[in-house]
């Protein structure tokens, strides 16, 4: 638990006043803090570094912590100094602000740490001097961008689905994040494979194959094996259509999905096939149909779902839209200018190719991009001069926007890399947080087991209990109060699942029956204790005897590592509990007494009778109901 939270523990304990009137049992006694909690005062100033300054210096800015009476809260009478538990390096800058009136931003410090210090001392960051302001703002923007990516990565949808997810939600998730389930992954690869097959088929279709017997002309493979290709095409289209319909069904917002780029690509990829099916076999219409087949090549864009690089490229082009637009516009301008000039320059030449200005466009473009096919060449001297100027300017015009596009691409690419790294780190971070939380609860449960909750005299407290810090004592006491208020106890996952498993089996015992001498009946609570000692003991079959939750007083017998035997503490126990005296070597019993409210009286005991061969070995007593736990239920 964070050390800073320790200072809030008194507040949390005070807030427990809200539970007291509701609790039906008395609260446990609070831990007594024997040694006076010495303040965490060190005889230094800011974490060890002593600073000295005039009072007037600090009084210059009365709306800061140091300039107002707020610093009295940090005054240490014994050493007659103000003590701040903060970063001494940063404090140097803060104090310089008081001295010179200008706040400087230290470049080597993390910007968030700096801002936190400013907030603590009550200084607004806008006071930063001009010399450091730009750097500060740049770093702040960069930090914010990074944090925005963090939250985006969190909401990336990698979190496990809530258990009540409908089929639709699960399907959508499987489509969007294929690595979440094996089925999704399989489907993902299958569709990828079929996209590749379809594209290759389209390509191979047009390759000339050896002609069929009796004919001379080379046939394209598509016509030779038309049936095979048709079958392949049909299969691919069927799979694509199925995938599209599934996505449409699963999409949380069908309208948005239908308008998204990927869905448009999907539709365009499969539409020609269906149109071809519907189309009648006329001559004039099939001409148009042939051009539709061109659209089949768009299937290759479906790969962008599978390839992140393609997506990055698309993203880059999108973000560079304005640069590309400018490039296009300037090129067009240059083309028109040079085409006009070339046309008029070559007008005089006989048999020239430059028949019109639009015809000269082709020459200008080929020259400006330095292709130079040579199908149109100027003859006159003026034409040659202008032609060379054209090619030189072409190089310049094209080279200018390209670095901008490249830098955009690089930025987006790195952003993506960072996002992936963040996501991976996030998982580790979550796991760590979960471990810490579990550690806290395990500490409490362990503490309970070690008999730390008994109200006995401190002399018999087990060693392990004593060695806990005051903070842990108080925190565990707080959790214990909550248990008493609600009449339930904290357990861990394992025992909860098995307890509730046997619950559902339906083994219930009525409250009023006593099962004292039933050997066969295995009613015991707290089988978790048995589970924990599974190394030494075999597991007993357990079930829970259920009664009304609020009217059960439970006694737990726990084993403590110490070898002392505990006397039965005060409470109105039945004589039955004599059965519980174990004379075994390793075991001792500590009885936690729960002061029962006067209204309830403990009725009977339900000893359990597990058949645990392991214990038999160690037991020497004849009267063994080797019980680890005994439950007394009261009505």
């Amino acid at each position: 638990m964070a050390a800073g939270v320790a200072t809030w523990l008194p507040f949390a304990r005070a807030a427990a006043v809200g539970w007291l009137p509701l609790a039906q049992k008395t609260m446990p006694k609070p831990p007594v803090d024997k040694k006076s909690r010495s303040d965490e005062i060190l005889f230094v100033n800011v974490s060890g570094l002593r600073f000295q300054t005039w009072k007037n210096t600090l009084d210059r800015y009365p709306d800061t912590l140091l300039g107002s009476s707020e610093k009295e809260f940090f005054y240490n009478e014994e050493t007659q100094e103000y003590f701040f538990d903060r970063d001494p390096e940063m404090f140097r800058h803060i104090l310089n602000f008081f001295r010179t009136g200008k706040l400087h931003y230290p470049r080597h410090e993390c910007i968030q740490a700096f801002e936190e210090e400013l907030a603590f001392y009550g200084i607004i960051p806008e006071i930063i001097g001009d010399c450091c302001m730009e750097e500060y703002r740049d770093r702040k923007k960069e930090n914010q961008e990074r944090l925005a990516e963090d939250t985006e990565a969190e909401n990336a949808g990698d979190a496990p689905l809530p258990p009540g997810a409908t089929l639709r939600e699960r399907l959508w998730r499987a489509f969007e994040n294929p690595h979440t389930s094996t089925m999704a992954l399989v489907f993902y690869y299958v569709t990828g494979f079929f996209i590749a097959v379809s594209v290759i088929a389209n390509v191979v279709e047009t390759v000339p194959c050896r002609p069929i017997k009796g004919s001379i002309k080379d046939l394209p493979c598509g016509e030779k094996f038309s049936v095979a290709f048709f079958c392949m095409d049909t299969a691919c289209v069927l799979i694509f259509s199925f995938e599209y319909l599934m996505r449409l069904y699963a999409a949380p917002s069908r309208c948005d999905f239908a308008r998204s780029v990927m869905s448009v690509i999907d539709v365009v990829a499969i539409l020609p096939f269906y149109i071809g099916l519907v189309m009648p076999e006329n001559e004039e219409v099939s001409g148009a149909f042939v051009t539709l087949r061109v659209f089949r090549v768009f299937r290759i864009f479906k790969f962008s779902r599978h390839s992140q690089g393609l997506r990055i490229l698309g993203c880059t082009l999108q973000s560079c839209a304005s640069e590309l637009g400018f490039l296009l516009f300037s090129l067009t301008m240059a083309v028109i200018i040079f085409a006009t000039v070339m046309f008029y320059a070559e007008k005089g030449t006989k048999g020239t190719n430059f028949t019109s200005i639009p015809a000269s466009f082709w020459y200008t473009i080929v020259t400006m991009t330095t292709l130079g096919y040579g199908d149109m060449v100027p003859d006159s001297i003026a034409g040659k001069i202008f032609g060379s100027i054209c090619s030189l300017s072409g190089v310049l015009v094209i080279a200018l926007p390209v670095p901008v596009i490249v830098s955009n691409f690089s930025r987006i690419y790195h952003q993506n890399q960072r996002a992936d790294k963040m996501r991976a780190q996030q998982k580790v971070r979550q796991a760590r947080i979960r471990m810490a939380k579990k550690g806290a609860t395990n500490a409490f449960l362990q503490h309970k087991e070690d008999g730390g909750l008994q109200d006995g005299d401190s002399g018999s407290t087990a060693l392990c209990v004593k060695n806990r810090s005051a903070f842990e004592h108080q925190h565990h006491h707080l959790l214990h109060c909550l248990e008493k208020t609600t009449n339930h106890e904290f357990t861990d996952e394992v025992t909860y699942s098995e307890v509730c498993m046997t619950d559902s089996v339906g083994f219930r015992t009525s409250r009023s029956t006593s099962l004292s001498s039933q050997q066969g009946a295995t009613t015991s609570c707290c089988s978790r204790r048995a589970k924990r000692r599974a190394i030494r003991l075999a597991n007993s079959t357990v079930s829970v005897s259920r009664g009304s939750v609020q009217e059960l007083d439970t006694l737990h017998i726990t084993k403590t590592p110490a070898g002392t035997q505990y006397p039965q503490s005060r409470s109105s126990l039945n004589a039955r509990t004599e059965d519980l005296k174990l004379n075994c070597d390793d075991y001792t019993a500590a009885i936690i007494s729960i002061p029962t409210p006067p209204a309830n009286t403990p009725d009977e005991s339900l000893p359990n009778s597990p058949a645990i061969p392991g214990i038999l070995r160690n037991s020497r007593s004849n009267t063994y109901n080797i019980q680890e736990t005994v439950k007394i239920s009261s009505l």
């Binding site: 638990m1 964070a2 800073g4 939270v5 200072t7 809030w8 523990l9 008194p10 507040f11 949390a12 304990r13 005070a14 807030a15 006043v17 809200g18 007291l20 009137p21 509701l22 609790a23 039906q24 049992k25 609260m27 446990p28 609070p30 009476s69 009295e72 809260f73 538990d85 936190e116 907030a119 009550g122 703002r137 923007k141 304005s322 637009g325 400018f326 939380k437 579990k438 609860t441 959790l479 109060c481 909550l482 609600t486 009449n487 339930h488 106890e489 904290f490 357990t491 025992t495 909860y496 307890v499 509730c500 609570c525 978790r528 829970v544 259920r546 939750v549 609020q550 059960l552 409210p597």
Partner: protein, 225 residues
């Protein structure tokens, strides 16, 4: 009709402007001024001496409290989110958000959505250094959400559910759905003397004073700080 035409014109000009910016390469406008988030207003508590007069804490205790408070909230006030985060660190197994909300409402006496150090210390002074009656009053205030002087079954049900939520899922015995409701029923049976369906402050205090358990438990606050 002119309204329609005006809208058309506006859309057209927007499209043209966009096209123009596309051609000239100035589609993305860099915002000239970065948005300066106004730094949160710092709240400074009243002087140490004044707080010492108004509460029952000693100077040293106030100092300790303030240091912890200031560490978590350097701007001097706690908002509900921070409050919930802090409180949830003590109950890792369950969800303490709802109960933290009720606590926040109880501490925020002037209903301005934030708890300053004074509110915090006043509340703690009542709970930790007040008489038993003070504490019972404070607890009643916590339960009575609309501050009308009586606790209805719904209000108590909310509180009870929030307390049970703090236990989390893994409890022994397994948590009923009905456990809070049963608890509320038994509470009302005990407290509601005249059976009018609500518990007034007098009934509450009277019953609590007669209950040994509660009286005994109240002593647990004596040495929290």
């Amino acid at each position: 009709m002119s309204h329609c035409r005006k809208r058309c014109k506006r859309q057209l000009t927007k499209v043209f402007r966009l096209f123009y910016r596309f051609l000239t390469g100035t589609l993305e406008k860099d915002s000239v001024e970065d948005d300066f988030e106004l730094s949160t207003v710092c709240h400074r508590p009243e002087g140490l001496d004044k707080l010492q007069e108004q509460t029952k804490f000693t100077k040293k205790e106030l100092q300790v409290l303030y240091r912890g408070f200031k560490n978590e909230c350097p701007c001097g006030v706690v908002n509900e989110e921070t409050f919930k985060t802090i409180y949830s660190q003590f109950f890792p197994q369950g969800d303490s958000g709802a109960y933290a909300h009720f606590l926040f409402e109880a501490f925020d006496t002037n209903k301005n959505g934030s708890v300053s150090f004074e509110d915090f210390v006043f509340g703690l002074s009542i709970i930790l250094r007040g008489t038993i009656n003070d504490r019972l009053n404070w607890a009643f205030n916590l339960y009575d959400q609309n501050k009308d002087g009586c606790i209805t079954k719904e209000e108590m049900m909310d509180i009870m559910k929030s307390i049970y939520d703090m236990m989390g899922k893994y409890t022994y015995p397994c948590m009923h759905e009905e456990a809070p409701r049963e608890h509320v029923e038994s509470f009302f049976q005990k407290m509601d003397r005249n059976n009018d369906g609500v518990v007034t402050i007098d009934e509450f205090i009277e019953t609590c004073q007669k209950d040994e358990n509660i009286m005994q438990s109240m002593q647990l606050f004596d040495n929290v700080i």
